[in-house]
């Protein structure tokens, strides 16, 4: 259980006046749940995700995972960014290795091979990042997060830079992986369809200051059909709340 209690985040703005990016966020995320954070830009959804990852610290409130408080990055929580963030000087394999340097060599090899397999890039291990398409690069980033076997995976608009076709196939693939690896998934998105297609629960946020304004359950069985009447209806209802 990932718990967010009264999380607040202020930044020092221009002229010294503090800007409140997040005000009093309360949120509980259950094991193996998929939660989508959605909202207009500036609503603090990415800031919240960064706080969950441990990359940023709240100025008030706390985040805890199974009762232990999160104050910095931890191996149980993985993060996938909007851009793949691969090291251009390392091959695909070596890029993934960066996430498992704490393990011994044979275990590293085993895990890297497994992670590459998982994202369907078993033959791309020797390529340089500059030789990858956008979709392939993001798959490598996913493999780099999976290779640490996180119990919680955070994704910050992970497919927003990709074309519609690649996005759809990566979303399908992500659900498959989620189903088999049993992690909890928290994703930030501004794409209504993505939220309805992937999430068990959609958390709607609004700016000025960033706060949660409503929540929506999506009780549809998977696999979902992106073009079904129920999905379209949910999208419309979600749009009204934004």
């Amino acid at each position: 259980m990932l718990e967010v209690q009264g999380v607040e985040r202020q930044f020092s703005g221009r002229g010294g006046d503090p800007v409140t990016a997040l005000a009093g966020i309360d949120l509980g995320i259950a094991e193996h749940e998929i939660v989508a954070l959605i909202g207009a830009s500036g609503c603090g959804k990415s800031t919240l995700l960064r706080i969950l990852s441990g990359l940023d610290k709240p100025t008030g409130g706390a985040v805890s995972l199974d009762g232990r408080s999160i104050t910095g990055p931890t191996p149980e929580i993985g993060m996938i960014f909007q851009d793949p963030r691969l090291m251009p000087w390392l091959s695909v394999r070596e890029n993934i290795r960066v996430a498992v340097l704490h393990l011994d060599k044979p275990e590293q090899e085993r895990r890297i091979t497994q992670a590459l397999d998982r994202v369907g890039l078993q033959h791309a291990g020797g390529l340089w990042p500059r030789e990858l398409s956008g979709g392939m690069a993001q798959r490598v980033a996913i493999a780099r997060a999976l290779v640490r076997r996180p119990t919680i995976l955070l994704m910050d608009e992970p497919f927003s830079a990709l074309d519609a076709f690649t996005t759809a196939s990566l979303q399908d693939h992500m659900l498959e992986i989620w189903d088999e690896e049993r992690f909890t998934l928290v994703l930030v998105t501004h794409d209504l369809e993505e939220a309805v297609f992937l999430a068990d629960r959609i958390v709607v946020m609004k700016p000025g200051p960033g706060r949660v304004t409503s929540e929506m359950r999506v009780d549809l069985p998977r696999p979902r059909d992106r073009n079904s009447e129920t999905v379209l209806q949910l999208k419309r209802r979600l749009a009204e709340r934004l």
């Binding site: 990852s53 441990g54 990359l55 990055p73 191996p75 993985g78 993060m79 960014f81 851009d83 963030r85 090291m87 251009p88 000087w89 390392l90 960066v98 996430a99 340097l101 704490h102 340089w128 990042p129 500059r130 780099r144 640490r148």
Partner: protein
């Protein structure tokens, strides 16, 4: 037939499925592109020799290429050429060594730590404004007229491009990649090893090459100002004794030495920079493909 051709291609060291003809034409074009750069110097040589023979140039000012060559051969034969080249290389080597060492340590400090940058960088930038040759009188006073003053001068010349390149490269390290390191629990040492070093290397190598070029410039300056050995001394000697062939010979030897050391540096760093996505690697890739 195609199969035999492919096997022959394989035999000639070609890639999978490449034909013998492919390998041969690729090799030929590679050699041709390598030698293309020699066309202009050779043409100049021919024109120079022709004009000398026709008497357009006065031999006591512009000796024909053959005489320049004879000057080099004479020096090589009595062994003094190697002493002169040797001592000049030695000066560049030590000056380069100390310059690189100081620039790397200081550049790393000011690039990485804000306190060090605020403390040291203004002074270093101010020193940069002093034309390097203006140090000569002071260095001679401090270190004497022998090796120390020359090596110090060269080290000063080498220092600045390396320092500036390294510092700005470290400061421009991609913050997003550092976050990847943090998420994955990398130690500071691992962050340096996997992100900082490889990320700054291209700029650092650019700095090294610029520094080396300045090193060669400053060794001439140092040797012109007072030396009893070295390529710069040979030039002064040629001037004093009225032997333009000797001056031109030293000039060419300087050019060759600078080229060779620069190529060596480029060659030594190439394996670490192969990942770069720029026009140079693109050209390499096309040539290889």
């Amino acid at each position: 037939m195609a199969f035999i051709d492919t096997v022959a291609g394989r035999f000639l060291g070609g890639r999978d499925g490449e034909t013998a003809q492919g390998v041969v034409s690729r090799t030929l074009s590679r050699i041709a592109s390598g030698w293309l750069g020699l066309v202009v110097p050779l043409a100049i040589l021919v024109i120079w020799q022709s004009l000398s023979v026709l008497g357009v140039f006065r031999a006591n000012l512009v000796p024909p290429p053959a005489e320049v060559l004879r000057e080099v051969v004479d020096l090589a034969r009595d062994g003094t050429l190697w002493d002169h080249i040797g001592i000049t290389f030695q000066r560049v080597f030590f000056g380069f060594f100390w310059g690189v060492l100081a620039a790397t340590v200081l550049g790393a400090l000011t690039g990485e730590f804000r306190l060090a940058r605020r403390l040291l960088d203004p002074t270093i930038q101010a020193l940069k404004a002093v034309p390097s040759l203006a140090w000569v009188p002071l260095f001679i006073l401090w270190f004497g007229i022998f090796e120390e003053s020359k090596i110090t001068l060269i080290a000063v010349g080498v220092f600045f491009p390396i320092y500036l390149n390294l510092m700005s490269a470290i400061r421009q390290t991609d913050r997003r990649l550092v976050e990847v390191a943090r998420i994955n629990g990398l130690s500071s040492f691992q962050t340096i090893r996997y992100i900082l070093l490889p990320g700054t290397l291209p700029s650092y190598v650019t700095g090294l090459r610029a520094g080396l070029a300045l090193g060669w410039m400053f060794v001439i300056a140092a040797e012109l100002m007072g030396a009893s050995e070295g390529l710069g001394f040979l030039m002064i000697d040629g001037q004093m004794t009225g032997r333009p062939a000797l001056i031109i010979a030293s000039l060419i030897l300087f050019a060759l030495s600078g080229q060779i050391t620069d190529k060596a540096l480029g060659w030594a760093s190439a394996p670490f920079l192969r990942w770069q996505d720029n026009l140079e690697t693109l050209e390499e890739g096309q040539r290889d493909a």
